[in-house]
């Protein structure tokens, strides 16, 4: 189970000794796999950090690189090559999983640019963090207060084995509304993508700030929707 991965970067190919750029996956001279260079999720695909991505192209690249990097191709290679293939393929898979999802991609790029992003994992902030009152978007304060009351009532009713159709209806309506608000956030985010991708440093900095706020709001909404769905489905 224990395996310490070392990512030292040689300047020349371990196999043919021809020197190469440290960020390459394979030696341009002899095509042998190289030690992991610690690249990021964009560079492993040979991409500049961007938010608008051609997903068809990304999938095509993913398959192409998988064919060359996958541990299945190194089952009988040397221990080092097997270890590098494992590390590189994990990086490739992590990169593909992150980049193909618009929200994870945005979060990743913003983090890469040094932004502080809230916890992205469901469950990490579970419990106390779920509806942390200090982070309630101001425009939603009143509604969230109301919603939490209704959720409490609903849970209490469920526990008593009762069903309140009126409450159910109003929670369903709230869910529809918050779903709609999430859609709004998503289209706002897309606008910022374009700004970030094409903008100069100043525009980027602005877009970045806006996106961090939008992601916070989205995460908050997503948690609300999850709470309502869970309570309704319980």
């Amino acid at each position: 189970m224990l395996n310490v991965l070392d990512s030292a970067v040689p300047v020349s190919c371990w196999s043919c000794s021809v020197s190469h750029q440290s960020s390459t996956l394979f030696c341009p001279h002899c095509s042998k796999i190289q030690p992991p260079s610690g690249g990021n999720f964009f560079s492993v695909f040979g991409l500049e950090p961007r938010l608008e991505l051609d997903l068809g192209m990304l999938e095509h690249q993913f398959h192409k690189l998988s064919r060359k990097l996958h541990p299945d191709r190194y089952a009988r290679a040397t221990d080092s090559e097997r270890e590098w293939s494992l590390a590189d393929t994990a990086l490739l898979n992590d990169a593909y999983r992150t980049l193909k999802d618009p929200i994870r991609r945005t979060e990743y790029l913003l983090k890469l640019s040094g932004a502080e992003i809230g916890e992205e994992h469901a469950g990490k902030t579970a419990g106390a963090g779920r509806t942390d009152p200090s982070r309630v978007p101001v425009d939603l304060l009143e509604e969230v207060f109301e919603l939490n009351m209704q959720l409490e009532e609903m849970r209490a009713a469920r526990q008593a084995g009762e069903n309140d159709p009126h409450l159910q209806q109003s929670l369903t309506a709230a869910k529809t509304k918050f779903d709609g608000l999430m859609d709004d956030v998503d289209s706002d985010l897309r606008e910022q993508w374009t700004a970030w991708d094409s903008g100069d440093t100043g525009i980027r900095a602005n877009a970045q700030k806006t996106m961090v706020a939008l992601l916070d709001r989205r995460r908050y909404l997503a948690n609300l929707v999850r709470d309502v769905t869970e309570t309704l489905g319980a």
């Binding site: 994992h121 469950g123 579970a126």
Partner: protein, 645 residues
């Protein structure tokens, strides 16, 4: 770089198989008895005077099920990688027991006669049998294999399977998920594209996987399942009903009689298999007091009984589609795998789950559901060996079935690698200290989808040691979690401020340590790993002696007199030839003479078989039935009659 052959192994709950890529098609390697299936049954033969007990595997081990049920283990796959409390309930259905002194936290040991074995050791015996079958077939050593596991197996179950391989003297190049292997067996044609669902209901496990095929790449989109759901559950249900009824009607509690329970289990399995073809099946069993337990089970009653079991496969199927982000209509093909998919009610359920007949579609059943997983394992073996042009362009991208998480404050799970992530997959997390001068940090890793760590499967506890003493919160320990292509977790850590690789002490929650595995390597127990040629000679002689004995016996069978004089003298000549070369040392001559005698006696064997079938009558004593099934080499279950087409 090793250039030996890589075989594909399906290590099943009920049966195991070994296959390899012959040219551009995978084929199953038969055993000495000509059967493709090796029942996953291991028996400890009674100790000879002054000698060591011998372990037998497969068909010969099945014979002991009725005679000495306390010396036989089967369905051990259900116990792989599990803790004491988990296996205790399960074992109530089986005739074998745990050793009395097993402690919680240890790998449970099964008491077999005077010896004790862990589940990986039992599996290792099955694997070694398959290894030997392959070596006999190729005439050369086989040391590398691909072994299949249920897609829904967790880390501990996977590790236990790998340990079993190592104990059997096999380097396990890859663990492949069973449904994915089945897809490989079906999808050899690179031109195939589209979305397929593999529904795999075997003896003890259920898996559903959804894959996208594109230009030779098999990309698993999602997987789900239940590692404790299969044909065994139907057997146990029918068995429990029969035992209760016998208790109520005849006042006998057969649960106290292991061999009677085995006889009823056999009758239950027979009834289950018959009900896949017929509209009803009968129980007709002689009880120890001479009474008969007779009962008819009509198909509709049977289907009502098993509906709750089958219905348990629906939830995982729906969840897999949700996780893949698709609806039934987007599934182009459904592949059925596992013996239990022969049950008409299972096929009806699959049809409605995936809207098949409504869309003018039928599930794929053209490959034998008992063999398809092994065939797929052989394809994967060929991919790894890089030895075939057919498989050169194929690539399997599988996923991890369960989310990986770490226990955070308050016992809540922080998920770090989500289920259905393509493997290998990794995640990096940072940890720090809570107290000034603290030099170690404990991390609890769990697998599962529940919110609380206590409700998930505990994988291991890691103790990060040797952190340089600093103020609380100052150390920054980077821990990298990596799930490899076998679905097994690796963890590495480094303290970033000092740049030192932190020392990690791993305490797996369930599982054997490396040292324990080392001591369990079968050949060290067997203490006599003869050199390969010598072993082949011994095996060839054993086969020769076994066929010579059979022929001697057959001469007194009434069928012998139905042969022509010519046939009789040909058999005698072949027999004499084998007897003479068997006295020598030449493995190949012995084997050739054995095959020759086998061919010459084929007609005789057919005549004897016909006679046996016509004289077979229902209601014979269980002892006689036990003998008969022990002789029946192609049975798909330790207790079941022959395979049916």
């Amino acid at each position: 770089m090793s250039e030996g052959r890589v075989v594909g192994i399906d290590l099943g709950t009920t049966n195991s198989l070994v296959a390899y890529m012959q040219g551009d098609a995978p084929v199953v390697i038969p055993g000495v008895d000509g059967s493709n299936l090796v029942p996953s049954v291991v028996a400890l033969d009674p100790m000879q005077e002054g000698g060591r007990p011998t372990v037998t595997v497969g068909n010969s081990a099945r014979r002991s099920l009725i005679e000495t049920p306390e010396r036989v283990v089967y369905s051990v796959k259900r116990l792989m990688g599990r803790g004491l409390s988990e296996v205790q309930r399960e074992l109530s259905f089986f005739p074998f027991h745990l050793a009395s002194d097993v402690q919680e936290g240890e790998v449970p040991r099964i008491q077999l006669g005077e010896m004790r074995f862990t589940p990986p050791e039992i599996s290792a015996y099955v694997l070694r049998q398959l290894k030997r079958n392959a070596e006999r077939f190729f005439g050369e050593p086989v040391t590398q294999a691909v072994i299949t596991v249920p897609a829904y197996f967790n880390d501990a179950q996977r590790q236990a399977t790998k340990d079993a391989g190592r104990m059997a003297g096999l380097e396990v190049l890859r663990l492949v998920n069973e449904p994915t292997a089945a897809a490989l067996a079906y999808g050899l044609d690179r031109a195939k594209t589209g979305t397929i669902a593999v529904y795999d209901l075997g003896g003890g496990t259920f898996d559903i996987s959804i894959l996208k095929l594109n230009d030779g790449i098999f990309e698993v989109q999602s997987t789900n399942g239940d590692t404790h759901l299969g044909g065994d559950d139907i057997d146990n249900l029918l068995l429990a009903i029969a035992l209760d009824e016998i208790h109520a009607e005849h006042g006998i509690d057969l649960r106290q009689h292991p061999s009677a329970v085995q006889a009823i289990r056999k009758a239950a399995i027979d009834a289950k298999i018959r009900l896949s073809a017929d509209q009803s099946a009968q129980f007709d069993i002689e009880l120890p007091n001479g009474d008969r337990y007779q009962r008819e089970i009509p198909r509709d009653v049977y289907e009502q009984l098993i509906e709750p079991i089958l219905e348990r496969t629906a939830g995982p199927c729906k969840q897999a589609m949700t996780d893949a982000g698709i609806t039934q209509e987007q599934i182009d093909e459904v592949v059925l795998v596992g013996g239990s998919t022969r049950i008409p009610a299972v096929r009806a359920l699959v049809d409605s789950l995936f809207h098949l007949s409504a869309r003018g579609k039928k599930p794929h059943t053209d490959l034998n559901p008992d063999e398809v997983v092994a065939l797929g394992a052989a394809v994967q073996a060929s991919i790894l060996a890089g030895s075939s042009q057919t498989t050169e362009e194929l690539l399997l991208l599988d996923v991890t079935p369960l989310s990986l998480g770490i226990e955070a404050l308050g016992g809540v799970v922080a998920r770090i690698i989500l289920r259905n992530s393509t493997i290998p997959a990794s995640a990096t997390e940072h940890f720090t200290t809570g107290v000034d001068g603290q030099t170690n940090v404990a991390i609890h890793v769990v697998q599962g989808e529940r919110e609380l760590a206590a409700d998930c499967r505990s994988l291991a506890r890691f103790d990060l040691k040797g952190i340089p003493p600093m103020s609380a919160g100052l150390p920054r320990i980077e821990v990298k979690f990596l799930i490899d292509a076998d679905g097994i977790l690796h963890v590495s850590a480094r303290e970033q401020r000092s740049g030192k690789a932190a020392e990690i002490e791993v305490k797996p929650t369930y599982g054997l340590t490396d040292e324990q595995v080392e001591t369990m390597i079968l050949d060290s127990f067997d203490h006599a790993e003869e050199d390969f040629a010598k072993r082949l000679l011994i095996e060839a002689r054993n086969e020769a002696e076994s066929i010579l004995a059979k022929v001697a016996q057959a001469r007194s069978n009434p069928a012998w007199s139905h042969l022509t004089g010519e046939e009789q003298s040909a058999i005698d000549a072949a027999r004499d030839h084998l007897a003479s070369v068997n006295a020598g040392e030449d493995t190949n001559s012995i084997r050739e003479a054995t095959l020759a005698l086998d061919r010459t006696t084929q007609h005789l064997a057919e005549l004897m078989m016909d006679a046996a079938v016509t004289s077979a009558i229902r209601g014979k004593t269980m002892e006689a039935a036990g003998e008969e099934l022990a002789d029946n080499v192609t049975a798909p279950h330790p207790m079941a009659p022959a395979e049916f087409k």
